[in-house]
Structures are given as structure tokens and as C-alpha cells.
Symmetry: C2
Subunit: 152 residues, 2 copies
DNA sequence: TATTGTTATACTCTATAACTATA
DNA sequence: TATAGTTATAGAGTATAACAATA
């Protein structure tokens, strides 16, 4: 089904399509996370905190997530109040606070990860497995090109 | 450069990549539109208004843009106050208001479209022309799959 | 002097509900 | 009764600036 030429200028625009697609994914993921008491951003912080035993500094969290450090403070506050992560002092740099997942946090993550995966899969049903792989490749180059990820 | 396994769970996630890439595009486009007194959302409304002679109803604007009609009201208000569009009564349905670009609005669009294109192109330099075409195809199926576009 | 985390603030975007006038 | 537009409000996301503690 072809959209009329009047709307083609928009519907052909990569920025517009990215924004729409991203919104769809965020909404679906937030809906899946609702019953776990999380949203996409806090979930991503929890994921990273669960990714290490020693914890990850807030500065590194900000770099990986592409967020300002001040936003990370609020997200970690939220997770800490829920008892899902805790801040530990670094023994090499007393400025640094290492965010580490609690056992409760790891449980919540384990419970949520499948629901999020289902939500994402539901959004991707239009694409074949090959196309999904290709999309991930293309997007990673767009997403991480401007502000590349530091090795954490 | 390989990100560590600790961050792979995130950096492999399509939703995360979409969100990052979308943010990059929105920021770049907003920066390009700043000198024209527009932002991405008002610009997209202006684009659609410029796409027809007769004008486009606010309901159709909302459907094409994937926005709530109440948000469209504010965007059209903003453009109308700047003299870039005007609301005309429909002669077939007195509830409907047709949003049509003024000559000034068409001038602003003409002046801005190149700057936006440059900003988008700058974001896409990582990809070959073939990859850009492919990406557009994949994204359009993701973006418009859930809430498909009505023919306007 | 530079960096980590923090507080504060303002603006944009998103999501809903309720209302009016027309159909 | 349903639809197009409008008003209002609240929450979430984004962007900056300034500060204290530490390096």
C-alpha cells in the first residue's frame, strides 16, 4: 500500500522512521516492565549492574547509556530505594561509587528479562531472522558512531 | 573494538540501539532547525502542510505523525502564531479544520529542508547508499507495522 | 586543576481525561 | 452516538549549570 506523495517526504525520512520505531519499542518494553516496577531506563541500569560482580561506576553507566551523569544519579537512587542495587565505595578511588546489583535486583532482572524479550520479539515479527541481524548491525553503527562506547 | 560482555546485553538490544540512534537524529535535526525557529515535530507538521494545496486536517496530521490530536493542536498553534500555517474551515465538514501552509511557511520550509537533509546525511555517513536504502525499508516496516498509516 | 557524584532547574515530550461543536 | 478539535494536567525524558569531595 503506497502512501500518497503528500506524506512521502515524511514516511521516507530515516529520522522520522527511527523516532516512530523507537517509540514503539519503548512503549512495548515499558508495558512489559510495568509489573516488575521498572521502566526501560531503570531496567537498562539494572542490566548493567547485573553484568558485573564488582559493580560499575556511575560515570561508566552514563557513558554506556548515553546519559548525563546527573540522570544516572536519579535512576540509581530509584533502584537503590527499591533495594535492587546498592552503591559501594571504590577501594581505589574514594570519589567513585560502584553500583552493584543486590540478590533481589538479580531476581527482578531474571523475572523481567523474558517479558522484555517477548515484547521486543513482538515488535520484530515483521522481519525475518536475517533482517533482524542486519538491522542490529546497521543500527549499532548509527547509534554508537557519534558517541562511541568506552570499554568498561 | 569489542564492548565487554558486561555491556553486550544492552548494546545488542535492538530497542536500546533504536533509542540511541533516534536520539542522535533528533538532536542533529533540532540543531539544524534551530536557526529556522523550528524543531523536529513542528517541522514535520509544516512539511505535511506544505504537501497539499487544500490543506490537511488535524486528525490526519495526528494519524500520520503518530501523535495524539491534542498534541497536534499545540504544534499547529505554534506554527500559526509564527505565521507559517493557517487553519481553514472545511467546506464539507464544519468540525474539520484544514491546516495549510502560508507563503511564509513554504519559504521557511524551503530554507530549512537542505539544512535538515545535511544533518541527516551527516548521521548516515557510516552507511553505504545500499545500506541506507535497506535501513529505510526495515525501519518503515517496524515503524508503521503497529499503527499503519492511513492514505491521506 | 580535573574528575565523580550530586542538586537544582527548566524545557520538551508523552499520556489521559474531559469538554464543545458539529455530524 | 460518534467524531474533530480543544483545554488541562501530570509524568517522563532531556539539557545545563553549579557545587562538594576527591584525585
Amino acid at each position: 500500500m503506497e502512501p500518497s506523495t503528500a506524506t512521502a517526504a515524511l514516511t521516507d525520512d530515516v529520522g522520522f522512521l527511527l523516532s516512530r520505531a523507537s517509540g514503539n519499542f519503548v512503549r512495548a518494553s515499558n508495558a512489559a516492565l510495568l509489573s516488575h516496577g521498572l521502566r526501560v531506563r531503570s531496567y537498562s541500569v539494572l542490566l548493567l549492574a547485573c553484568g558485573t560482580e564488582e559493580g560499575i561506576s556511575q560515570r561508566d553507566l552514563a557513558a554506556v547509556l548515553g546519559l548525563d551523569p546527573s540522570q544516572v544519579v536519579l535512576l540509581v537512587d530509584e533502584l537503590a530505594e527499591s533495594g535492587l542495587v546498592e552503591r559501594r565505595p571504590s577501594d581505589t578511588d574514594r570519589r567513585t561509587k560502584l553500583v552493584v546489583a543486590t540478590p533481589a535486583g538479580r531476581q527482578v532482572r531474571a523475572a523481567a528479562v523474558g517479558d522484555v524479550a517477548s515484547a521486543v520479539t513482538g515488535q520484530l515479527t515483521e522481519l525475518t531472522a536475517t533482517e533482524q541481524f542486519l538491522l542490529r548491525n546497521l543500527l549499532s553503527r548509527l547509534a554508537l558512531g557519534a558517541a562511541s562506547l568506552p570499554p568498561v
